[in-house]
Symmetry: C2
Subunit: 107 residues, 2 copies
């Protein structure tokens, strides 16, 4: 999960992901469309690959990168644990303040 978030938390990599939503692309094409240098693209693709965001298909000279959505699904599942929270969360802050005062008295 940390790897996934780290991969996403970088503008250029996020751009690549957005771009690959429209379909697979070669390294050179990505570099052209995003106006990045080829080495940077390769490096970012490496990170994305290690986080599971892309898969590679060699085609002769080139390598075609295709988006994988599994990491995003994982992120979605991770969010599950919070979904109930942003729906029926009751205000615990007031309770906590009282609890804190109780502790004070004990000392």
């Amino acid at each position: 999960m940390e790897k996934i978030l780290n991969a996403l938390a970088e503008t250029k990599r996020m751009d690549i992901i957005k771009l690959l939503r429209e379909g697979p692309l070669t390294v050179g094409e990505i570099a052209d469309k995003l106006e990045l240098r080829q080495p940077q693209v390769s490096k970012h693709l490496r990170v994305l690959n290690e986080a599971g965001f892309v898969e590679v298909q060699p085609a002769a000279n080139r390598r075609i990168y295709k988006l994988r959505t599994e990491p995003l699904q994982e992120l979605d599942e991770w969010l599950d644990q919070f979904r109930h929270t942003w729906e029926d969360r009751f205000e615990r802050l007031d309770d906590y303040l009282i609890e804190l005062q109780e502790k004070e008295k004990e000392d």
Copy 2:
């Protein structure tokens, strides 16, 4: 969105978020429970705050930090654009390979 992801993509901050799920806590309590030094906790809370993940309630000497789920909701909404993709995505890779060969012939 970048701020949100950046805030999440850090182990300690993620730990703080997990911890705050159980309820609001003071800085000192967070430091104790996670075995972190107080200044680091304050710094991480600063980042979390700027990303909208926490709100603060001063109580005398202390400051009680409470989790906000809005950024997570934002993340959830951002994921929407991919949800259809990981359901009914058709294989475009083969098509692309053919398309690539067409381009070759043109040159």
